[in-house]
């Protein structure tokens, strides 16, 4: 696999894992909206583990760069960073929303 091809795959994997985490976070909110808090917590855990995978890829890219192997900067690599940031934000906010739904349910 050529260097460029490898960078492309790094970016796409980062998007795949981050995207998976974001979807899990949204599904966690959907579950808690229906009162399924156990399912919501499980979904959040899955989001967490996908973010961890994404982080590994990210760390890989960073250490490559630190070793002087410059990664080809493309719009896609920048875009993949957007996905990771979004996923992290979504996961953190999903936790807060689940807590909120719990408060609402308990006050009914």
């Amino acid at each position: 696999m050529c260097e460029r091809e490898q960078d492309l795959e790094f970016a796409m994997s980062l998007i795949a894992y981050s995207g998976d985490a974001k979807s899990h976070a949204m599904e966690a909110i959907f579950a808690s909206k229906k009162g399924n808090f156990k399912e919501a917590e499980q979904k959040l855990e899955q989001a967490e583990s996908s973010i961890l995978e994404a982080h590994h890829i990210q760390t890989n890219m960073l250490s490559k760069e630190a070793q002087g192997e410059n990664i080809t900067m493309t719009l896609l690599t920048v875009h993949s960073q957007d996905h990771l940031m979004t996923a992290i934000t979504f996961k953190d906010l999903a936790q807060e929303m689940i807590d909120l739904y719990k408060v609402v349910e308990n006050s009914l």
């Binding site: 492309l8 795959e9 970016a11 796409m12 994997s13 998007i15 795949a16 894992y17 981050s18 995207g19 998976d20 974001k22 979807s23 949204m26 599904e27 959907f30 719009l75 896609l76 875009h79 993949s80 996905h83």
Partner: protein
């Protein structure tokens, strides 16, 4: 117009277009006449209404919208599925094309 149309949907339609290129190459090598393209979620509805789409595949980042698309597509008989995360990350055009073909065969 191509024999069949495959629509890929993701948040911005950007990352998925990389996968589209791989799928197009694969379709060509299999001598399949396919129109394959990627759109953002905001453009997808229009395409569904146009009635030209034969199968819809969602990127892992919009998997949570699967139910929503199932509802929109059921009366138009457009099958909907989510692209396998591994196939997405490795841009495995052959596998994703196979998934689309199987959905259309059903």
């Amino acid at each position: 117009m191509a024999e069949k149309t495959i629509m890929l949907v993701c948040a911005a339609g950007m990352s998925t277009s990389m996968l589209v290129q791989k799928m197009q190459k694969e379709a060509e090598s299999q001598n399949l006449d396919r129109d394959i393209f990627a759109v953002s979620t905001s453009e997808a509805d229009q395409k569904i209404d146009d009635g030209t789409v034969d199968v819809l595949l969602l990127g892992p980042q919009v998997r949570f919208k699967k139910d929503e698309y199932n509802k929109k597509c059921s009366d138009k008989n457009i099958p909907v599925d989510v692209i396998e995360m591994r196939d997405y990350g490795t841009m495995n055009g052959a596998n994703v094309l196979q998934t689309a073909e199987q959905l259309m065969d059903n």
